[in-house]
Symmetry: C2
Subunit: 661 residues, 2 copies
């Protein structure tokens, strides 16, 4: 057996505000700037539960898995290279550790934990020790430079970047992890490591004469470099990101799978590996926004339009094809075999948040919210310790979440996404304050450099009432822009892919200090501009009836089927609640009994109606009888053992689910 | 800030069977020898779920907590001592790591995990490095010998053992952890460390002229030394254990709290700190059994009789008093304030298993099973990641399990106990095979050196049918001794503390190959002696009606109250199922609707009946109405958020629970 040593340095808490290089104030930034996670405290409800579970279970379990699978040990091995080492695991394992650290950064904001923070510092010491003198950081090469562990890693630095070495992918996650941890704790050790790594990349790869002309085989670094530019003010990182976006499709390896079959400006459809695609588009929006590049903005807008018209599942999942974890043919949104990788959902949330930051349009938040409450939330068990990689919309049973994966991108992405949610709730543009997400929180933010404090109370997504209270306002007159969700305005998604089939017209109403206020809806926002005073109360009410949804007829898979949504929550039938799962048929206008049950599935609103059961008499004539049908939120399925499940339910006789053989 | 370094050695897998010193075959052993955990595979049901949860959650979380709280780092610090180190945490923290390793050993048997095993090996390397040259192992002193961290630790080795330094307590857990890990994996590195530590203790403390005359302030080492004797065959460890038992109450520090107010032979009641008491009595039974010392056997029998007559809660919990985590006055078994430490339940299981091994009487297994399914199982949440330290029998709300404790004995005890259960199912004495526990498993055991294979199938504790099948028998004629639980023979506990108040007479019946068999009941066992053949099937049936239980009138707390048990499961009412929790009254003969629900609380049988609700009309006259009352297993309470709970329920008007203020 091989001998190895794992060393944990932990040189205490080097608390130092990052100040090198000097922050350059650039005028370039996203027009709509999110209020950062450090200024918003989630304090109740479903998301506090999720962030708590992430803190108590998902992060500890992910650290444990990183320890026993050698992911953390690899950094020690890289700090003590030897030609006898043959690393185990995957060459992209470094990225999981960086993502967990990113998650810890966000998580400490909601659940401070000095012990976890100290322990994380010791991991960061180890990462620092693994970095080569010139900034190169990639444990799979460094631990044994003479003995590359696989063809994919290759024998030389950067040589296999476009063929899958993930060298640049890992660095992207390093940067994101370092920034989150710095913003959360003020500690800059990992940020310095990330900057040194980014500088090493900027020297090796770029437009210069002696520089390599390559782009990442798995995108991620582009968006991370833009973040690093915003944190440091150093334009070289933005330039490097722009280089990667510009060069895409113009370098040696050309493939649809990695969105490099042609230059991005010539691309018109969401294509290839879905996670790579999302990260690339995010990087492109970042670069376009920060350089005000209209061409790239138009390219991404085109691709987004294609995506929501042809590729978006009702749950907000994307990437239908198991072959290559990729986008499939337009409208080919199969249910049982849907891939819908959890990471792709997270990537789609990132993309829509960026497009909102660029355009200030609520339609992006509509898609974001759909993905968030459905495809993404389904990616982790209610217990926080089991994960879905694919997220199908139907199951015949036998499909369960796993405790971990050899390729653990999804668990580590859940680790970092869940506690980042406070950063998605509000945004500011000039004197406009955007209220995008509805969940209980306190926020302290700046409008034109003046302090504003807000409190939000709500039982959303289970109830449609939200109370926003101004706790402090030093900014005088400003506009509160309240997002009216698409489903409250008659649109399932911003395309013809799905539509409401019922005749219900949900209403919404907004009052300020109990006085009704009116506003036209602009880009999905209801605007109230006034001089806000401490104690001002905005009551927002949305009707949230159960809505019946049918799919575009081109989406053959769902013909004759119906699905149900209430507020942002997409529902499903699971065999646990409906033991006789087959041979049922929904009436055209089901009447719903809507029940909140605090003890079921960590607290859900379930929907109960009467359906019809089909059978055959002795002579083979069809017989029908009434039966009760219970629907639960899609995200909560597969938390009570093995089960069958379906989001799209039979509504017309020809689509009756046939009996099991 | 302090600087520290945590080093993980992991010198691979040193698989070597332990063989030094040479195993001496001694004739002395327990007469009734349990079939060890390595020969029994639990393969279904509630306990497989629990062992799986322990493997997937409790062990990982406990390792995570040990890492972030410095428990593992302490071993590195002890390997690199410095006079600048001021250790954090508690001087008994070492023991938690040893207990987790013990749990990992058992757990690997049911859920092999080479990654976890490799990682555990790296922790063991660290422990080895922390041991001083002469075998002394106590990180809180070794890491900085010149600067004792507290008065309790003291300035000199062993000096404060009787006053609470836990130096010997830690070594006990080291030995137990080392033996379990050795038996599970065949790796002896930690066992060698434990032997070196034990040898160091045997040199320093004992009856010789230059040896210290002290006993452990927190008992545990006594039973561990007996285990070490059984594994190594080296009688010096048994002699050292006997020294500690003999000297108890004869050394400097005398205190009821540590069972050292007088010599053990003069003690007649369970007294003092409950966990210490259990571990002491275990050590005393071990020594008595292994040396055939009648006096000690009689002393412990006396104390056990006292315990079951005066100190045993209906749930099998012990140690009523919060003051000193201790036994209280006889019959003073308060419900809401009951301490009932989880560790004390585990200790009581250990004690009863040993008394069975000594006497071959099923009454000990009756108490063991009561503790196991009720007080002990309540100590960990269904999710495996939250723990009770005290386990009260009633709550007004506000009492929830915690993710960890500064003093983490209970979580680490849960870690090691849960996966050890396979070792409690069967035992052998000569040509008698004892079937003590009912749960699905396959076993491969020896009777007089000949191989016997058994399979057990059952849905116990929810149903009363058990199928035992002989899969192989090379032992010819032997007696199958099947435990008939006390509750099936009319006795709640082996004393007058509780009794059944109903008129039900549960029946049991046993067939072999579908032919009824008869036997008298001897010490609680039904005996079938025959030449067993492959394929022989024993069907055991117990009626398991819901039984009403009342307490001895001396147990004032429970006067006028009633409790319910079905099979080994004690039930409780929780406010989650019974929102209007107060003002209800059970009828004298409730009729029960018994419902197994696979989706509720990880699968439970709940009991539903009609009770009466009390209220007052406008003039203050009492009014009554009927209401439904749902009971759940006691162990499953407090898994759905904050709640009120009661095991003992009002049955007579004077005990009606009054309305909340």
């Amino acid at each position: 057996m091989k001998h190895f040593i794992t060393l944990f340095f932990c040189f205490g808490l080097s608390v130092a505000c990052y100040s090198q290089p000097k922050q350059q104030q650039t005028s370039l930034h996203y027009p709509y700037r999110p209020v950062p996670f450090t200024q918003v405290k989630v304090n109740d409800g479903l998301w506090l539960d999720k962030i708590k579970k992430n803190s108590e279970i998902t992060i500890p379990i992910s650290l444990y898995q990183s320890l026993i699978t050698g992911r953390i040990q690899h950094f020690y091995q890289a700090a003590h290279p030897s030609d006898t080492i043959k690393p185990q695991g995957k060459y992209y394992d470094d990225s999981d550790v960086f993502k967990i650290i990113e998650g810890i950064g966000y998580s400490l904001q909601t659940f401070p934990n000095s012990k976890l923070e100290n322990y994380t510092d010791s991991i960061i010491d180890l990462i620092e020790a693994a970095q080569e003198a010139d900034g190169y950081l990639y444990t799979f090469r460094t631990m044994n430079p003479k003995h590359p562990t696989s063809k994919t890693v290759g024998t030389e630095r950067w040589k296999n970047v476009e063929r899958g070495s993930h060298e640049l992918y890992n660095q992207g996650h390093l940067i994101e992890g370092a920034i989150a941890y710095y913003q959360a704790t003020g500690k800059d050790k990992l940020l310095k490591v990330a900057i040194k790594s980014a500088d090493c990349i900027c020297r090796a790869i770029g437009p210069g004469e002696n520089q390599l002309k390559i782009v990442p085989g798995h995108e991620e670094l582009e968006l991370a470099l833009c973040k690093l530019y915003l944190v440091t003010g150093d334009k070289k990182y933005l330039d490097e990101a722009l280089f990667f976006i510009d060069m895409r499709g113009k370098t040696e390896v050309k493939s649809e799978y990695t969105q490099s079959d042609k230059p991005l400006l010539e691309q018109t459809t969401a294509i290839g590996h879905a996670v790579r695609a999302m990260y690339l588009y995010c990087g492109a929006v970042d670069v376009a926004a920060l350089t005000n590049n209209r061409e790239y903005i138009e390219a991404i807008d085109r691709i987004w339009d294609d995506l929501v018209r042809h590729q978006l599942y009702l749950t907000g999942g994307i990437g239908s094809s198991r072959k290559g974890e990729a986008f499939g043919l337009p409208y080919n949104l199969i249910n049982k075999e849907a891939y819908n990788e959890t990471c792709a959902s997270i990537g789609l949330v990132f993309l829509n948040q960026r497009l909102f930051q660029l355009h200030g349009d609520a339609k992006y938040i509509d898609v974001l919210e759909r993905t968030l409450y459905n495809a993404l939330l389904a990616g982790v068990s209610l217990t926080g310790d089991h994960f879905f990689y694919p997220n199908p919309l139907a199951s015949d049973g036998g499909y369960l979440r796993s405790p971990w994966f050899g390729t653990a991108c999804c668990p580590s992405n859940i680790c970092r996404f869940m506690p980042s949610l406070p950063g998605y709730i509000y945004a500011v543009n000039g004197r406009d304050l955007y209220v995008n997400m509805f969940l209980p929180n306190n926020a302290s933010l700046d409008i034109n450099g003046k302090k504003v404090e807000l409190a939000q109370q709500t039982k959303y997504p289970w109830e449609g009432d939200i109370l926003l209270e101004v706790k402090k306002n030093q900014a005088g007159i400003f506009a509160m822009k309240i997002r009216i969700p698409g489903w409250a305005l008659g649109q399932v998604v911003p395309s013809q892919l799905y539509s409401f089939s019922d005749n219900q017209k949900p209403q919404y109403a907004i009052t300020v200090n109990n006085q009704p206020v009116q506003s036209s809806i602009d880009k999905g926002y209801f605007t109230i501009e006034r001089k806000w005073r401490t104690g001002d109360k905005i009551n927002i009410h949305f009707d949230i009836p159960v809505r019946s949804i049918v799919a575009n007829e081109k989406l053959k898979e769902d013909n004759g089927l119906v699905a149900f949504q209430r507020g942002p929550i997409v529902y499903c039938a699971e065999s646990i609640d409906n033991p006789d799962f087959n041979n049922f048929l929904l009436p055209y206008t089901p009447e719903w009994d809507i029940r909140y049950d605090a003890t079921k599935l960590d607290g859900i609103t379930e929907l109960i109606t009467t359906a019809q059961q089909f059978n055959y008499d002795q002579q083979g004539f069809i017989t029908t009888s009434k039966r009760s049908l219970t629907l639960i939120p899609y995200y909560s399925w597969s938390n009570r053992g093995d089960s069958k499940m379906a989001v799209w339910l039979p509504w017309k006789v020809e689509k009756v689910i046939t009996k099991d053989k």
